[in-house]
Amino acid sequence: MLSLLLGIISKVPVIFTIVLGTIFVAIFFIFLVVFFIRYFQKLYHLKAEREKLEAQLANEVNNARNEIQQSTLNNISQEIHDNVGQLLSLTKMQLNLIEQELGNEHPLIKEAKNNISRAMSDLRDLAKGMSSERIQLLGLYESVVQEAVRINKIGKINVRVHSSGTKREPEIQKQLVLFRVIQECFQNIIKHANATEVAVAFIYSPDQFEISISDNGIGFDVQAKTLAGEGLGLMNIYSRVQLVGGVVTIESVLGEGTKIKLRTYM
């Protein structure tokens, strides 16, 4: 048996082994090329999938953060209305009783009553600004108008709100996020811009709408602020608008003012 096998092996022509080897190596190289193509395709898909998951996670984190913030603001608003507001009303009533007991109008009591009325009015406005109920009831445009009225009361800045196109409101979550962004913009203008005039424009078009907030303040270097990572408020604006599928553009000229455009789809 062994000698037979040895005989067969020794008679196998060398050319046969060469052809066999060459075919084998050629097949393997084809396999190698196919492997690398498949490998990089799979890698690309995995990378895309991972990026998608990361974006989803970031969105969920942002959503949760907004929900927590909204709930906190609602709680504070409720607290102002139910507790501080009631206490101030009670104090005002007590002052009225003192005034009745004294029988004449005391100038100090009158001033205290006026101060309490102003505090109550300011707190009511503040509570309204914090609460999401107002947006749900009035819609985004009217809520911004009311916010403008509240800021105008302070007297330092004159805020004008106007719209163009057929008025339509986006879904409630979008409205809430955009309202907070507009509030953030107002806060920035009051704190840093040193502006006297602010114009808010709502521009409606069939599939999207744009909110433009421009002021005549001192302006700032947008690129430098963004690169330095200083503007936490700016980062908030970007991330929030991104959350509702929108785009933010900020144009600012030193000494001339700033224009912020929020563009989103309906």
Binding site: I18, G21, V25
Partner: protein, 220 residues
């Protein structure tokens, strides 16, 4: 004079230099190197180095050394089997590796008597290369299935496989062609055997030095 020196001493021993390089890298960076199948890889280079030195020594003393070259694939296939069984592979792949190892050893056992009468049994190198091709295919398929983190090119075992594959494939085709020319009656080719030997040495040097360089860069 210089050409003779270049051929006989530099290029003639370049295979030994090539095999020594990964061994030195393994020695100097032994604590840092983390690689699947590390010991099997060291064993592969060590066995190869010792056998190559032995073949060179016999050749230098004008002694018959073809039996050394005939046994190289047999001695190398064992650490190669252990290396491929330690890097990612499916259970079926591991069983196939073992089966082909068994076949290879069996083939050696049956053909050894014929082989020692032939100047160089090139078929051993061809089947050795085919064995490496089969193992590599199993490894690559498993990598494709697992899709581990990071690029495959950043894994050191991939470079070890590439080094093995490059040497085995080039040598298998080269030696087979050489064997064919002799069997076809072109005995004159035997007089130019040093050219083939040179090509072999260069192939081995390239495969070893590329692997050593990657190993050194990754773990230095």
């Amino acid at each position: 004079m210089f050409t003779r020196f270049l051929f006989e001493y530099i290029l003639g021993y370049i295979d030994c230099i090539g095999l020594l390089t990964p061994l030195l890298v393994f020695l100097f960076l032994r604590k840092r190197i983390q690689m699947a199948g590390k010991h099997a890889a060291v064993l592969y280079f060590a066995i190869f180095f010792v056998l190559t030195i032995l073949a060179s020594y016999l050749s230098y003393n004008d002694l018959y050394n073809n039996w050394v070259y005939d046994t190289i694939p047999l001695f190398l296939i064992v650490p190669i089997y252990f290396f491929f069984s330690q890097i990612p592979n499916s259970n079926l792949g591991k069983k196939l590796n073992l089966f082909f190892l068994f076949l290879f050893i069996l083939y050696y056992f049956f053909t050894w008597k014929i082989a020692i009468d032939i100047p160089l049994n090139t078929e051993y190198y061809l089947y050795f290369a085919i064995y490496i091709l089969i193992c590599t295919a199993g490894y690559l398929l498993q990598e494709l299935k697992l899709m581990r983190d990071g690029l495959i090119l950043s894994r050191i075992e991939f470079w070890m496989v590439a080094s093995l594959l490059f040497y085995a494939c080039v040598c298998a085709l080269m030696w087979s062609f050489f064997g064919y020319l002799i069997s076809a009656g072109s005995e004159d080719f035997l007089h130019y055997a040093y050219i083939w030997s040179l090509c072999h040495n260069l192939t081995l040097f390239i495969s070893c030095s590329v692997f050593s360089w990657v190993l050194f860069r990754k773990f230095r």
